[in-house]
Symmetry: C2
Subunit: 118 residues, 2 copies
């Protein structure tokens, strides 16, 4: 039996892995897809590439289905840090990219409050 | 400036968050969606619910786009642990659910080798 935590000797496949909720609710309920999530995802991916941060050992920008914290949407989460974000515009995404994904410093003003759920 | 690592005083929103690659390549290239990923995702979600593990503070089973480790597909990753899996059948999923998602013990035989990429 091995503890699930990664062996410290094994570097993570991605140093930082960000997932954007791109869920689209067909029934008209609030969902990230109707609040600019697709554009934010694409912008993040492009910025990460432009800064040379993309790839194994570095950063991965990923699509995700519903992350089930819809009340705070649009949302994204950065692992392995476990830092959740809500964002308004592409300037917010730029700040997440440079501060957190590149420099490892969480963007406090964009953190999703801990009690925000579905 | 704050280190991106979660404050130890703040429990993670999900204790374990598993992402299944459900990417489907229209051009006929190998992709997780053509290797049972959708069924595995649905089975995992159902098992986690059946065991009472689903929800905030516990486990979330999530859809994801391409995780870019296609050579080892179908793949899934568990965060914040950063443990990557490849699986063959639903018995493998059951083992990931009970051993890792419920009990916190990684399933060594299903780990994706560290050098498997796109």
């Amino acid at each position: 039996m091995t503890d699930a935590t990664n062996d410290a000797a094994t570097p993570p496949y991605y140093r930082r892995h960000i997932f954007f909720c791109l869920n689209d609710r067909a029934n008209g309920e609030a969902c990230c897809a109707r609040h600019g999530a697709q554009q934010a995802f694409e912008h993040c991916k492009a910025q990460v590439r432009a800064l040379g941060l993309a790839g194994p050992g570095q950063v991965r920008v990923n699509k995700a289905g519903c992350l089930d914290r819809c009340a705070g949407g649009p949302v994204a989460v950065v692992y392995p840090d476990g830092v959740w974000y809500t964002y308004v515009d592409l300037a917010d995404i730029d700040e997440i990219v440079t501060s957190h994904l590149r420099d490892g410093v969480a963007v406090e003003r964009l953190r999703l409050p801990p009690d925000v759920g579905r």
